[in-house]
Symmetry: C2
Subunit: 347 residues, 2 copies
């Protein structure tokens, strides 16, 4: 335990992870699993192995800021592909892949970060087919499957992966806590060996102390009980948040309950001054993540990611009442006139 | 503790580290310290910030294999500069720096890894002067200062650093254990900010759990007591090893007790078959690190790094008796004929 260990992670923990992944439809052995220091290190290592400076990586837009951070640190050019109610727009992706060589596709299919939408079945198949056709590895970030609120998670994209194109990343930061810094990677063996070598060069191994503690939590069934409790708690909090957003934010605000995760994605009505709202809200003690943190081009300043994980329903109601007043004060009525949507009509 | 924290590390621990560094002659504030996942992650992060693919990094030869691993992963070209009884050969380095642009100098001045020699005072000053003159950052890996066996460690190179060229790296892997995965970096603020950003992109932060545990060990004086005990223990073990090597290995074997560290560097006599000896020794249950693990060009297969950290004097004597027989069996007498040394004589 004290000495250097297998750089792939503590074997008993890798066994438990492989066993637990059956629940996500993923059949793998402990030898297919590498334990790393959180999902962020997984993204960093996969990026370092698959991306050279100047290579192109595709991300969802809006999408997880940590992925942009990691791949940019590898010197990659980042390109965003849109997200709608059915998840990543595979039609847009297909067009892009026809014209440009892409080295990595990053996606959060089970609960899109930050919008919370689920990649639908047709697109899941389309995405894997595109990856196979263009020989582009997919990084599937399944950061939140265990906490999924509205019923069982869709099977992992990895379950559709017959060509070994999908690199699956999981984490315990959501089910337990981010300070634990434990995540894992499942990938085809040759790639996993390169990831292991990169991990060894980067910091030899993940500390076995936390791994052993986590193993006990899993092995003794404590994690499972905890996840059941947290899931119930989060569902209550999300319900309170959805109700409060509907009640407090002005007409024209768009949102829909996420399939999981710990945040609600909210689009303010046209005319909302995102900068002023963010500043005033912080001053009033209401913190959220700005929508433009999730985009490559700075769009989304009129969107908010409202985290409900550590707030009671009462605190949520209180915060939203404050936020509602601030949003109303900083939304220009003039611009709120409805514009006719012309998208898809003759253009 | 459970949530994400300051990416520079847990503030109380950084305070204790800054305080402890006074003992190494380094005056710094907690804000000058970043806690990372072991010295290896420190090398990786410094490499990622200072080295672009194709850049040249200089390392000691023989030198620490982890540094070569980390800088190679950054795409750097590695160049070795020799080490003699006074440490890194600054004359050789000076010649090299006149002809080539170097982006990073890696050195282990207090206890050279793997030879255990100390960089002498003249060379310490020459090294810092060279770094200033050629504007090359020095990475000072002070991995072992706390355990120094033969009296107080020489002051850190960092104490001679007036231009902010020295990046100082420390670790708790030696004083405590490698599985802890905690180390730290002290550097000039602008560079430290870039290192912090690279750390955040790579894995957000080092787990605060281990940091808090370590803080208690330092704060309660337990680490200091432990280091005193370990230092005594290691001195005994090293003495037993030195005696056993002198007794069991054939004439012509060269070694000298290291100033610290946990290993003795041994050069076998000419004619020793390093490959055969390593294989036979492993079969007999005697493990050591091959000398060629510490070189860029594969030289040093006739050298051994014998770790004495976790072996009792009795086990050391037993192992060396076995190793002595194996070395004798695989050293050709013919080649052991003494050759006249001509170095420095008219050439």
């Amino acid at each position: 335990m004290a000495a250097h260990q297998d750089p792939r992670g503590w074997p008993p923990l890798r066994e438990e992870i492989a066993r637990a992944l059956v629940g996500r439809g993923i059949v793998c052995e402990p030898a297919d699993v590498v334990v790393v220091g959180g999902a962020q290190q997984a993204l960093d290592l996969v990026g370092r192995v698959l991306l050279d400076p100047g290579d192109t990586a595709v991300l969802e837009q809006p999408g997880y800021f940590g992925a942009a951070l990691a791949f940019r640190a590898c010197g990659a050019n980042l390109v965003g592909v849109g997200v709608d109610a059915a998840g990543l727009r595979t039609d847009e992706l297909a067009r892009f892949l026809r014209s440009r060589r892409v080295k990595l596709l990053y996606t959060t299919p089970a609960v899109q970060s930050p919008t919370g939408v689920v990649l639908d079945e047709t697109r899941r198949r389309a995405l894997v087919a595109l990856a196979d056709q263009h020989q582009v590895p997919i990084l599937e970030d399944d950061y939140d499957s265990e906490l999924r609120l509205g019923g069982p998670a869709a099977p992992a994209l990895k379950t559709l992966d017959h060509a070994g194109q999908v690199v699956y990343v999981g984490t315990f930061s959501k089910a337990l806590f981010p300070g634990l810094r434990l995540g894992y990677i499942v990938a085809a063996r040759p790639l996993l060996e390169r990831i292991t070598a990169a991990h060894f060069a980067a910091n030899f191994q993940t500390s076995p102390l936390g791994q052993a503690a986590l193993w006990e939590l899993i092995h003794d069934g404590i994690l499972e009980r905890h996840v059941r409790r947290v899931r119930r708690l989060y569902a209550e909090r999300l319900a309170a948040l959805v109700e409060a957003v509907g009640r407090e934010l002005p007409e024209g605000t768009r949102f829909s309950p996420p399939a999981g995760g710990t945040a609600l994605w909210v689009e303010l009505p046209p005319g909302a001054d995102g900068d002023a709202i963010f500043t005033r809200a912080l001053e009033a003690g209401v913190a959220y993540t700005r929508g433009d943190s999730f985009t490559l081009d700075g769009a989304g300043s009129d969107c908010l990611s409202l985290c409900f994980a550590n707030l009671s329903p009462a605190r949520i109601a209180e915060g939203l009442a404050l936020l509602g007043r601030i949003v109303r004060a900083h939304t220009q009525r003039a611009v709120r006139t409805r514009r006719v949507k012309t998208r898809g009509m003759g253009t």
